[in-house]
């Protein structure tokens, strides 16, 4: 009986140890945010706590996580989210909103028009939230 208990204790300790082993994080590249405003979330969910808000063409470091058994993770939550670092923050951002190259941003191209609208901090917050809340898609020709 004692052996049996000991076996279970050792087994579960190892299992918990394996789970809690920290994933190795490494940068895979820099990408640019393509929408007007957007949020970096604590978890890969649109309702997760917002860590910071970024604007168009803001560069983010896209990271990958490697588990102890060599498995690599780049996309999270139904392949919709990238793990990124933005300044001092490390969080998740929708992968569809990131591009490899810099974008033509509306607020840069029409900067005086954008300034003229006098958007306050509340408006910019809601603009970032809007891109959290949108459900987006694109119809395609399927073979």
């Amino acid at each position: 009986m004692t052996k049996f208990i000991l076996f279970f204790v050792i087994f579960f300790t190892n299992a918990i140890g394996a789970e809690s082993a920290p994933m190795k994080k490494s940068m895979i590249g820099i990408k640019y945010f393509k929408e007007l405003m957007g949020n970096v979330h604590q978890n890969p969910s649109r309702y997760s706590q917002v860590l910071t808000t970024i604007s168009c063409n803001h560069p983010v470091k896209v990271m990958k996580e490697t588990s102890t058994d060599g498995k690599e993770f780049v996309l999270y939550g139904e392949d919709k989210w990238n793990y990124v670092t933005v300044g001092p923050y490390a969080g998740y951002i929708m992968a569809d909103y990131l591009t490899e190259k810099k974008n033509t941003c509306f607020e840069e191209e029409y900067s005086k028009y954008f300034d003229g609208l006098n958007l306050d901090i509340n408006d910019l917050y809601y603009w970032a939230r809007l891109y959290d809340q949108y459900v987006q898609g694109k119809s395609k020709v399927r073979q």
């Binding site: 007007l36 309702y47 509306f106 191209e109 029409y110 900067s111 005086k112 028009y113 300034d115 003229g116 609208l117 006098n118 958007l119 408006d123 809601y126 603009w127 939230r129 809007l130 809340q133 949108y134 459900v135 987006q136 898609g137 694109k138 119809s139 395609k140 020709v141 399927r142």
Partner: protein
């Protein structure tokens, strides 16, 4: 003895000679030293004369041909042209900053601005279930032959607006649909897709855009306000027009007839879908007649009852 006397005599004779020779040596040095200064002065004068002479020779016209051969004039012209181009480019770039987006880029931003400004009224910043509407609707669009169509769907927690397609850029469509409306009618993904498709047709026909656009906005789009104050009032006025369309005025009978008829034609290829559409309109008709929250629906989309009449085949007596 004789030898000694001879040596003394020679020495005595040589003293005055040596003295003269040392004087002569001194003399021979001094005339040179004293003469050297005037010689130097003389040479300087020659040089200045020479310099003056060369100054006279350095006439621009005489070396103009050489400069031309060196390509310095061309280089100067090139530099001047570069500077002129840089300044004109900078001026143009500064001017471009005052551009107002044109028809192709104006609408999506403007509609999103309206959504942002009315966030609290529309209540779209809510935690909602993931219906995977985007997947259902894109596959519906594909089944109807609409490819490469980008869609954005926003769910509202409000009954003020049931559903609509907001004016957007030519490459995308923005849809808003009420979550309480979906729940009250217990709509399926296909039924929601049909409602969105109806809005898609309205957007393609440009009804909403036509309501918002007037002469003022038309001339405002694609213009440049450099040197003029920004017309914020015009923006605010046209944002209010969104409210008029979506909360009060809605679409007219003609537009509703055209939309329903197009839906009828497009969906008849698949009778199952067509029947679902008919059932959906019946459900909406019942809802608007019985639920006071949706009384305004018929005002915005006139009217489900008429739509049913337009859709149902007429009983012709042979």
């Amino acid at each position: 003895m004789m030898k000694k006397k001879c040596l003394i005599a020679l020495l005595l004779l040589s003293v005055p000679f040596l003295a003269n020779s040392s004087e002569e040596a001194k003399d021979s040095k001094s005339p040179h030293e004293t003469k050297s200064e005037p010689v130097k002065a003389d040479s300087a004068e020659v040089k200045t004369e020479n310099k003056e002479g060369t100054k006279e020779l350095l006439d621009f016209s005489s070396i103009k041909d050489i400069i031309k051969q060196d390509g310095l004039e061309g280089e100067l012209k090139k530099k001047q042209d570069e500077k002129r181009k840089f300044l004109s480019d900078k001026k143009l770039k500064d001017m471009k900053r005052f551009n107002i987006p044109n028809q192709d880029t104006f609408w999506s931003f403007f509609s999103e601005l309206w959504l942002v400004k009315n966030a609290t009224l529309l209540k779209w910043d809510i935690h909602k279930p993931d219906f995977e509407l985007e997947k259902a609707f894109t596959s519906f669009l594909e089944s109807q032959g609409h490819y490469e169509t980008k869609i954005k769907i926003l769910l509202l927690d409000s009954v003020e607006i049931t559903h609509a397609s907001l004016p957007s850029n030519s490459d995308e469509y923005i849809f808003i649909i009420s979550l309480p409306f979906i729940r009250t009618l217990d709509l399926s993904k296909v039924e929601i897709s049909l409602i969105l498709f109806e809005d898609f047709i309205r957007a393609k026909k440009g009804y909403f855009k036509n309501y918002i656009t007037d002469k003022e906005l038309d001339s405002f789009m694609g213009s440049n306000f450099n040197g003029k104050p920004f017309d914020k009032k015009l923006v605010d006025t046209h944002l209010k027009k969104y409210n008029q369309v979506l909360f009060e005025k809605g679409f007219n009978f003609q537009e509703q007839f055209e939309t329903t008829k197009e839906m009828d034609v497009l969906l008849k290829n698949d009778l199952k879908i067509w029947n679902t559409y008919l059932t959906l309109i019946e459900k909406i008709d019942t809802l608007t007649k019985n639920n006071t929250l949706y009384k305004k629906y018929g005002q915005i989309y006139p009217s489900p009852e008429l739509q049913l009449n337009w859709l149902r085949p007429k009983n012709t007596i042979l």
